[in-house]
């Protein structure tokens, strides 16, 4: 039977946050629960977030269970561990 929600752990630096999303949600959707949903630091140190939404631009690459994957093309699974690219908070403003 299909679950109605998935619980994933988002790690940003040392901070870990549990995020609950509707079943079938992308990792990008889970990250956006901490606005603005940053994914990575660019080579010159800018925070970036998903841009194309369809697996082309690679702005949304994050570590998922230790492996680099695209947040917009990956569906959340219960217990998934997501790490954004730096020690700063994903929701940093």
């Amino acid at each position: 039977m299909k679950n109605t929600a998935a619980m994933v752990e988002v790690q940003v630096g040392a901070a870990r946050v549990l995020v609950r999303v509707p079943a079938g949600s992308s990792v990008a959707a889970a990250l956006a629960q901490q606005p603005p949903g940053c994914t990575r630091l660019s080579v010159s140190g800018q925070w970036r977030a998903p841009l194309c939404g369809m697996g082309v631009c690679h702005e949304c690459r994050v570590l998922i269970n230790g492996r680099e994957r695209l947040a917009c093309q990956t569906v959340c699974e219960d217990g998934m561990h997501i790490t954004t690219s730096s020690a700063q908070p994903a929701g940093t403003t």
Binding site: V21, P22, A23, G24, S25, S26, A28, A29, A30, A32, Q33, P35, P36, G37, C38, S42, V43, S44, Q46, W47, R48, A49, P50, L51, C52, G53, M54, G55, V56, C57, H58, E59, R61, R67, E68, R69, C72, Q73, T74, V75, T92, T93
Partner: protein
């Protein structure tokens, strides 16, 4: 239970959007062993992208059910083509290195249909790297995949019918769409709308998409904010409008995804798409193309092209020929799209400032690129286009900004794991690879 995916099939289809689905279904009756590869989590492409934020239209559900009924069709989602593999035999149309979340392998096929779709044309403007700026179709895809935009203020900008579709998706998801800034003139929009009666299915959709915030002759100037979007500045005719918002969804039309086809030696035809004949054959024997990668024209055209390609690849040329009439009809719709939403390149080229990044992967600024003479010159001197997206975004932008002709893609097509290349290199000694 562990199932195995053969590394050899009769027909390999790249892309499970409308074109790829129609191609697989058309070819299925022949009994060919068919594999459909798609890098999205589920079949449907972008227009029929599934997720918690979407109610799939009946036609999409029909196609997915039909695909599931055929035992000779294998759908490999979450799988992307990373490059060309070694051909195992001369009868192969192609051998492609594939990678999913867990493994990589070389897939050999006697026939290949490219249904690689299109990506959005995303153009640089000051502030476009701020979190909160997405493509227009990009925002739509993110919302379908569960992005929560409830009560967010959103400005949609750019050009093309996709803007209204994106605004409609955002509004249904509870967002407040403040403005839809369409670069084309009211005259062009009216002329396009007047033509829609020729395609009743499209004319019927149109009123449901109309948005009270739609403004013609309007385009984005700048996204404001320090670490995320706080506001947008828009040019509206002779005046500048500033709106506070959380998101800016900005797209300038579609760019056919031709990199794989070009890498395989296929020649480009009209509208920057892969060149195909009436049976959807590309210029390379055994390789067909259908849908937006042949030059964008909408999902109805993609469905017809896909069916023609599927029949043709299965050797059923009479069935393929029988679809020429609907193809001509939807080709005419594609013509209308291209006629009424032309890019105003001179206005768009004036948007980036010297310090605006054009290449977002390598953070290469407009000022550094203006001094370069060509795409290759820019790559060699600035690393523009050499990052993770392999120039998919900035290459198309550089064509608009600087008039640089896009270069065919080089290996690899996308970032890949070392293990994938090692595994692919060990083929074809492996008969099959296990699939979880």
């Amino acid at each position: 239970m562990t199932r195995t995916t053969p590394t050899r099939c009769d027909l390999l289809i790249i892309g499970a959007g409308p074109a790829g689905m129609a191609a697989a279904l058309a070819a299925a009756g022949s009994g060919m062993r068919i594999a459909v590869v798609d890098d999205n989590p589920a079949p449907g492409g972008q227009i029929w992208r599934d997720g918690p934020g979407v109610q799939l239209p009946p036609l999409a559900r029909q196609h997915r059910r039909a695909l599931a009924r055929h035992t000779n069709i294998e759908i490999l989602c979450g799988t992307r083509v990373v490059g060309l593999g070694e051909r195992a035999s001369t009868g192969d149309a192609a051998s492609l290195i594939l990678e999913n979340a867990t493994r990589g392998w070389t897939q050999h096929a006697s026939r290949l249909i490219l249904c690689t779709g299109a990506r959005e044309l995303l153009l640089p403007f000051p502030g476009w790297t701020l979190p909160g700026v997405t493509g227009a179709g990009g925002l739509q895809a993110l919302i379908k995949a569960g992005l929560n935009v409830r009560d967010q203020r959103i400005v949609v900008a750019g050009t093309g019918p996709l803007l209204l579709a994106a605004a409609s998706t955002a509004r249904k998801a509870g967002a407040q769409v403040l403005r839809v800034a369409e670069m084309a003139s009211w005259g062009a929009l009216a002329a396009f709308a007047a033509q829609l009666v020729r395609w009743p299915a499209k004319a019927w959709q149109a009123p449901t998409l109309l948005h009270p915030g739609l403004r013609a002759n309007a385009h984005v100037l700048e996204a404001l904010g320090s670490t995320q979007v706080k506001a947008v500045r828009l040019q509206r005719g002779n005046t500048v409008e500033q709106l506070a918002c959380e998101r800016i969804a900005c797209g300038f039309g579609l760019v056919p995804n031709t990199h794989l086809g070009q890498m395989l030696g296929c020649i480009l035809g009209e509208r920057s798409g892969l060149q195909v004949d009436a049976l959807m054959q590309t210029t390379v024997p055994g390789i067909y193309a259908a849908g937006e990668c042949t030059g964008f024209g909408g999902s109805e055209r993609a469905l017809v092209q896909g069916a023609i390609a599927g029949h043709a690849a299965a050797g059923e040329s009479a069935a393929a020929q029988a679809l020429q009439h609907p193809l001509a009809r939807w080709n005419a719709f594609a013509d209308a799209l291209h006629r009424h939403f032309p890019l105003r390149a001179e206005a768009l080229a004036a948007l980036p400032r010297p310090d605006t990044f054009v290449c977002r992967c390598e953070d290469v600024a407009h000022g550094a690129l203006q001094a370069r003479s060509s795409w290759i010159d820019a790559k060699l001197h600035t690393r523009c286009g050499m990052g993770a997206c392999q120039g998919r975004i900035c290459g198309a932008a550089a064509q608009v900004l600087y008039g640089w002709a896009p270069q065919p893609a080089r290996h690899l097509l996308s970032p890949a794991r070392i293990a994938t290349l090692a595994d692919a290199g060990s083929e074809p000694t492996h008969e099959s690879v296990p699939r979880i």
